[in-house]
Amino acid sequence: MLALLPQLVLTGLTVGSIYALVALGFVLIYNVTGILNFAQGEFSMLGALFCATLLAWHVSLPAAALAAAAGVALVGAATERLAVEPAFGGHPLTLIIITFGVSMAFRGLALMIWGADPYTLPEFSPGPALVLLGGVLVRQAMWAIGLSAAVVAGLFVFFARTVPGAAVRACADNAFACRLVGISPRRMALFAFTLSAALGAVAGIVITPIIGATYDMGLGLGLKGFVAAVIGGLTNAPAAVAGGYLVGLIEALTAGYLTPGYGDAITFLVLLAVLYLQREGLLHGAERRRA
């Protein structure tokens, strides 16, 4: 069965690159607002379906992808303004339930607009898959892997080297101090949702040639991205990407050596293990709540 390994690893990397991209969106929002955005996967779904529709209207792929990402960024901004912002400062569970609601609303709207049929997008650079160590890597996976690396690099440069990036970081650290120096945490939250919606949309567009796009893809994708982000510690972008690849590998290895149906169960077992091992004291949780 060792002969399977190279293929399983490459499969894991392909799927992992998808989860990594989704996980980055979570990390961005969590870092700035402290919110776990359960609707993150829906941004990917919307991006993919927008893009597929534009393509059907004979827009070229790059233009369609950009337009879709921009459109979803607006959706992200609207989400923050209409659903999240009014409940800011409430109980954290309120915000969690709200993001669940947003997720359902998007899923329902997508079903009304696009129906239940799966859509697809052409590969960005069609051609035969690459053969590595006896395993095969789809070309589109290279795009996904490259993109997640680029986004991590981009976020790093943004946060470490630019003024707005520093402001976002400052807000994450101390909302009060931020207000003192004239940066509005609310504006930062808006910014985080917008950016992470665009990021999610791009993720959705890049992965659609591999897995297709349906109105209900968001929840599953979001949950996996979530697990990846949590494994990475929720605040660290490179770690979240690593988490994504780890989840992908776990799934592929489970599928290869156990039975595929258990993939989800194993993934979430890992999530539970991570959660349980990072035990937090009572006060710790309470202090964060007050912040």
Partner: protein, 385 residues
């Protein structure tokens, strides 16, 4: 000052009473009132790509039947189960007790159909299942009929192709539910009979997004052919992953791949895939003498005109169930027992799934003759050979 809990309790009571008053059944319908046929499909949820065309077909037929059958208007009630067997059961109950439906069509997925079939037996009402699971009509149950080609029939049809290309070893990739398991049972029987071996079976979940690990596992056994028993998107993903891993052996899919979504999602990997199917997809290519040709062409045209998307065999299953019931009503009137007897002896009924020849031993009435083998060539369906 009333206490808060009392106020809340008051509200609760209001709602409960409202529920009691608002929901009671409509008065029993007398002569001249419309005859109702209940349809219960998975319009949303995981099986929605099957259930949506089924519902749209029912709606379309509803408009056609508005004129009535035998002088009495016929009304088609449609309900959505969200692919949930419990909701399917409840909605069937509603159709029967509340709408006074004389018969029910539905049960998009096998679990839904099983739950509904049990209820049909309890209340003695004709039920036309649109799910493909063999166990729905083998053994036969008095009130349960099945309109899609059974899984075993499809497996037998697929076997004709495997025999023709002289396959010895088979790897079977299947969706791990009734549909895939059922196909495996059929395939196993026929493979044994034809001296073939199933060297590997790989179950996967309906929600899987990547099957290359599974394909890699199957590859180890060096099969002559990959047989995939599922519906899109997993049916497409499997074909795609097989080709992506550079495997060149033939791919055989089930009648679950008989829709446009399969080709769209699988892309170039769909080319060369062979699958057994009802004749709807290749209606135009059928010889002029084919008894189904006229019906299939008309159904596809009507469906597309009404719904702005291509007809699929799934909608056809609903079409067959509803038109068969309409036929029964036309001949024996809206009497459940008489309808059942009529349906059980229905012979030569031309539907989209084939020419139905029912009997007390066979509540499906279709054979491999009602199916064709379709090969996908440059993204289009062609009759194989």
């Amino acid at each position: 000052m009333l206490s808060l809990s009392r106020k809340i309790a008051g509200l609760v009571l209001t709602v409960v009473v409202a529920a009691g008053l608002l929901l009671p059944g409509r008065p029993v319908l007398g002569q001249g009132a419309p005859i109702r046929i209940g349809t219960v499909f998975a319009v949303t949820g995981p099986a929605s790509s099957l259930g949506k065309p089924e519902k749209d077909t029912a709606t379309m037929l509803g408009a056609q039947f508005a004129g009535g059958i035998g002088g009495r208007p016929v009304q088609i009630i449609t309900y959505d189960t969200e692919s949930d067997p419990t909701k399917a059961l409840l909605l069937m109950k509603k159709a029967v007790t509340e709408d006074n439906a004389v018969a029910v069509v539905g049960g998009t997925t096998s679990p839904e159909s099983q739950a509904m079939a049990d209820y049909a037996m309890q209340t003695e009402i004709p039920f036309m299942s649109v799910a493909a699971s063999t166990t729905l009509s083998v053994p036969t149950r008095a009130w349960v009929f099945q309109t899609p080609q059974r899984n075993s029939t499809a497996a037998a049809k697929a076997m004709q192709y495997l025999v023709a290309i002289h396959v010895k070893t088979i790897a079977y990739l299947y969706r791990n539910d009734d549909f895939g398991q059922d196909g495996l049972v059929g395939l196993r029987t026929f493979a044994h009979y034809n001296g073939m071996t199933i060297v590997d079976t790989e179950p996967f979940a309906a929600t899987a997004t990547d099957l290359s690990a599974l394909v890699a596992r199957a590859r180890v056994h060096n099969p002559d052919v990959m047989v995939v028993w599922s519906t899109p998107p997993t049916a497409s993903i499997a074909a795609k992953n097989i080709r992506q891993l550079g495997l060149r052996m033939p791919i055989v899919e089930s009648h679950g791949a008989a829709n446009k979504a399969f080709i769209d999602l699988a892309g170039p990997a769909a080319n060369g895939v062979v699958f057994p199917s009802g004749k709807l997809l290749v209606a135009g290519q059928l010889p002029v003498g084919d008894p189904q040709k006229a019906l299939l062409v008309k159904y596809a045209r009507d469906f597309e005109a009404a719904n702005h998307y291509a007809a699929s065999t799934f909608g056809g299953h609903a079409f067959d169930g509803i038109t068969m019931l309409a036929d029964a009503i036309g001949h024996v009137g809206p009497d459940k027992a008489k309808m059942r007897d009529y349906l059980e002896h229905l012979r030569g009924f031309v539907g989209t799934g084939g020419v139905f020849n029912m009997s007390p031993q066979d509540h499906n009435g279709l054979t491999t003759k009602d199916m064709v083998l379709i090969v996908i060539q440059t993204g289009t369906w062609q009759i194989w050979k």
